[in-house]
């Protein structure tokens, strides 16, 4: 059978037609697959980038809050600030740390990431230390406050 005559039969025509559809589909799929793949990869990369950026922001924020707590505590120990201000400022710092922790907890992806989980734990420990310092400043217990500030330094160096 000549190829040309086979082409002319109706069934072959149908086959040829479906074959060309498949071929053109394959062609289109090949054409589309690359951009889709690239787009998906870009999305995943940007999601990872966003995640990295978000974690870095949380990290910087916690570092800033730990540094603030240290500065507030040291100023009180040096007699530069009143107990009233120190307690108020520590309370505010505590609120901000808790906000950071809540923000971390609100994105499960961040907590699945080991760095996010570690940040969440650091935030929790920082909150506890802040609550303790606030209590000790109220009791004018300078020695304990000094120890707590040392703990915060430990938290900062651990990270």
């Amino acid at each position: 059978m000549r190829l040309s005559s086979a082409k002319m039969r109706p069934s072959n025509l149908r086959n040829a037609a479906s074959g060309s559809v498949i071929a053109s589909f394959n062609h289109v799929a090949r054409e589309v697959a690359a951009p889709v793949f690239l787009f998906t990869a870009a999305l995943i990369a940007s999601a990872c980038g966003r995640q990295d950026q978000r974690l870095r922001q949380h990290d910087q924020k916690l570092e800033s809050l730990a540094a603030s707590a240290t500065a507030i505590g040291r100023a009180w120990l040096a007699g530069s600030t009143s107990g009233t201000y120190t307690i108020t400022a520590l309370e505010q710092t505590y609120v901000l740390v808790e906000k950071e922790r809540a923000a971390l907890a609100s994105t499960p992806d961040a907590l699945v990431d080991p760095r996010g989980a570690e940040l969440s734990q650091t935030a929790e420990r920082l909150s506890r230390v802040l609550a303790a310092i606030r209590y000790e400043v109220r009791g004018a217990d300078a020695a304990s406050v000094r120890q707590r500030l040392h703990d915060i330094e430990g938290l900062r160096t651990e990270r």
Binding site: K61, S68, S82, Y85, Q92
Partner: protein
Amino acid sequence: MSAIVDLILGVVTSIGGFVEAGSISTAAQAGSEFGFQLLWAIAAATIMLAMLVEMSGRLAAVSRRSLAAAVRERFGVHFQIVPLTAEMLIDVLLLAAEIGGAAIAIKLLTGVAFQWWVIPIGLVIWLVLWLCGFAVIEYGIGLLGLVTLAFVVSAWQTQPNTRDLGASLIPSLPGHDPARYAFLAVSILGATISPYLLNFYASGAVEEKLTEGELWVNRTTAYIGMCFGGVVSMGVLVTSAMVLGPLRIVVDSYDQAALMLVPVFDRWAVPLFALALGIGCFGAAVELTLNAGYLFAQFFGWSWGANKPRRDAARFTFAFTIVLVAALVVSLTGFDPLRLTLISVALTVVIMPVVVLPFLVLMNDDNYVKAHTSGAIGNACLAALTIAGAVMAVVVIPLEILGG
């Protein structure tokens, strides 16, 4: 002699009245996060503000009309609804932020939660407006505001590198977080060039009966006063950069910002910071409330004036009372005043073109400013500000999401 006294008082009170919640918060954040790198934004915004304030004073002195009244007359009521609504909305938010800032200042001294101070502060604002004339409001609060010079003293004492300071007056790209850098730059512009200041200044000039012969007083007060005021704002940024930056403290609350004065003022640091913040915010709150009354009264054609007996300007009094109550309600929600300030200054940028564009037209209309129309430089600056304002208005919301 009287003109000289007015000039000195004007300059001194411009310095004292320059710093408020917006400028303290944006400058403190900029300094703690980017060192001196955003000084150029304060310098540029201050020059623009001085120019705008001089123009609004000139318009008022020559036409005997405030900015809002002139816009209504020149462009019609239908046009003015847009800027009026936008400005009123921003005024309420800014007023709530300033009241919150003043309340935080008292909290720093007493330890009592800021929400408890919101209504007492609102009451004092209302009483000041009810009992005092324009001169007492302007000069009294401006003179008290000189306490903000503590930031300049502190910046001087921390001995920043003058070469670095000079270099930062030229815009440069940040080494990190470009979106945040851009957001802070736009916020500094928004916090400094508050549109309410233009109508407030023009209305004040009408109240004080500034004449064409005193235009030199207006010009000198605007340029010298505002430029020295800008130096106070720069003092906040430099102190924050020198003290909080090395400690890696990023300012997220006024409590943290108060620490910036500790190395220089020691046990006076927190009281001085609280006084500077409190007086700055209180002064701005009084001006915003008064300006809300001006805007409504000038739009509807009511009798207005802080110097008039209240019974002769009853609707004007009622208008500023309503706006004050609205702002108090916003403050009482307990929304963080610092965040409210940053949102307000970002929105201020959004409305800037709507306020500046009609101003550009008015300053070239000799029916209003006679022979004192703006020159080529003034027009170019105002046009540039309108275009820059339009661009910033488009980018500020995405920047707020990315870097705010």
